[in-house]
Amino acid sequence: MSAIDRLFENLRAEKRKALMPFITAGDPDLDFTADVLKQLDACGCPLCELGIPYSDPIADGPVIQASYTRALDRKTHLADIFEMTRRVAPTLSMPIVSMVSYSIVFRRGIASFVAEAQAAGIVGAIVPDLPVEEAAPLAEVCRREDFSLIQLVSPTTPRERAIRIAESSTGFLYYVSVAGITGERTRLPADLAENVAWLRARTSLPICIGFGISQPEHVRQLAPVADGLIVGSAIVRRIAQADRQPRDQVLAQIADYIRQLLGALES
């Protein structure tokens, strides 16, 4: 049983839902990423998604693209990211999941990537450009090492296929809210809750919804049908201020925002 399995088992026993922030590693530098991770943990986030910056992220909107560019401009290497999490992860109670392009995983070597990530305290990976048909080599290593491989379902996924993806995903299932790229949205699709509920009835795997979620109202709407909600661009946009504002101030703004969302989740 992986760290994520245990986490959702506990959350379900307590009838609680997870708020899962996404941040980019190395934006604007790895010291600040470590500070943000500690802050998110202190706020009570049960799980965090750490984006490994990539040069060609086709599923990402302008906010996350720009954060990847900032991190890569500062020469953030995979080894440095692992070194940072190796130091920080043991001090946190929330597990860290990586969001990483298959280009990076493949270049490292599948087995090496998983081994290095695990040694660095990372408990799983979301690989947004690895559909289920291509996932077998990585899935095999992940299963053997008890490293969660979180797969994604999107609004364009046919229902039969969604069930197949849920069956091969481990840790949780990432439900992409909209056919599109990452980024804050005012409105989410009207049939989203209904579609998640349909899948909810057909898999025991925890389901977390991501893409576009940014407002307390979204959290209130979707919490009943999901096990967790993922918030990315809205946090990354606040982190982007760290080059212009005192870092303590940015950390405080992030904490305020997270508490707002956590409040909506409890209500």
Partner: protein, 408 residues
Amino acid sequence: MTESMTHPGGQTGQVPDAMGRFGPFGGRYVPETLVAALDQLQAEYRSAVQDPLFHATLDELLRDFVGRPSPLYHAKRLSEHCGGAQIWLKREDVNHTGAHKINNTLGQALLTLRMGKQRVIAETGAGQHGVATATACAHFGLPCVVYMGEEDVRRQAPNVFNMKLMGAEVRPVTSGSRSLRDAINEAMRDWMSSVETTHYILGSVVGPHPFPMIVRDFQAVIGREARQQCLARLGRLPNSVVACVGGGSNAAGMFSAFIADEQVELVGVEAGGRIAKPGDHSASLTFGSPGVLHGSFSYVMQDEDGQTGQVHSLSAGLDYPGVGPEHSFWKDTGRVQYLPCGDEAALEAFDLVARNEGILSALETAHALAQAIQLAANRPKDQMILVCLSGRGDKDAAEIARLRQTAM
């Protein structure tokens, strides 16, 4: 029954397989949101290939709208200048819109209509694919958005204007290196949000399955005609076939007809750029290694972390860090030899062909010409070298003037 148009008898071992693999290369590394659209495209293509009406419609367009078959031309003065083998040019530059790209865009526009999609997007580097897509869309009355790197908008201004004249919207891409690679990223992002109503007409044999197969098949008309023309005119096959390779669509179309003719030497020419140093060339088959970029597994220029490397070529159409997966397959099986040609050698070949033959070739094509000229000089007079003259060079005139710092 094969899905592909070019390999009805399985003469080349029926690649790709059902997963879009050319040996180990190819595949489909894309976000889940795009998978359904790629499945739909694959299914539509499969049904189109078996529909005589589809073939008849495309053939008629290629004849009456594009002007096919394109001529096979004996470059006598150029051959004399080289003093060796005879150089023959497959004249894709005389196609409507001035390059081979139109062969693919008309085919994919027909698929767009069959799928009932109402909007088209495309990426472009040199602008030839953008113009060919804008042309096909104007012909069929489809709205068209073309993504083009800001750097390429500058260096290929005449093509930008032509696209707009035909009603296409050209969106300059300001992210990353502002060239072809970033234009593909932006087109993919658009497609992520518009996939249910929009078809992405990808312009080369790159990207996720089924694009490398479909684009090759639509370009295979180049090789089929050229092979037939060689046999009809000369009663023989060429000794060597040379084509330039960026993503590699003209080369894939040309080579596919000759793959089974083992005695025919096949040479792909990549952009060697300024020097053989990372960031100064675009020769991913020569200097790169296998990795994943833009949805497919192929040779690519990446650093040790898997980040895409910077590349350079003076020709916008070859300025790309990856290459089509079938080329990677042909490289590793040894069927095709891939060589780099530098910026300077390409410019020299451009001049030589302009002055000896009265043909302004595209700068992309000039890389293939440079290699052919070198080959010809070292081969006996009775040998025949066939070059895919993939595009015309009018679009490059201003950029050549700028590079030489001369007034036009």
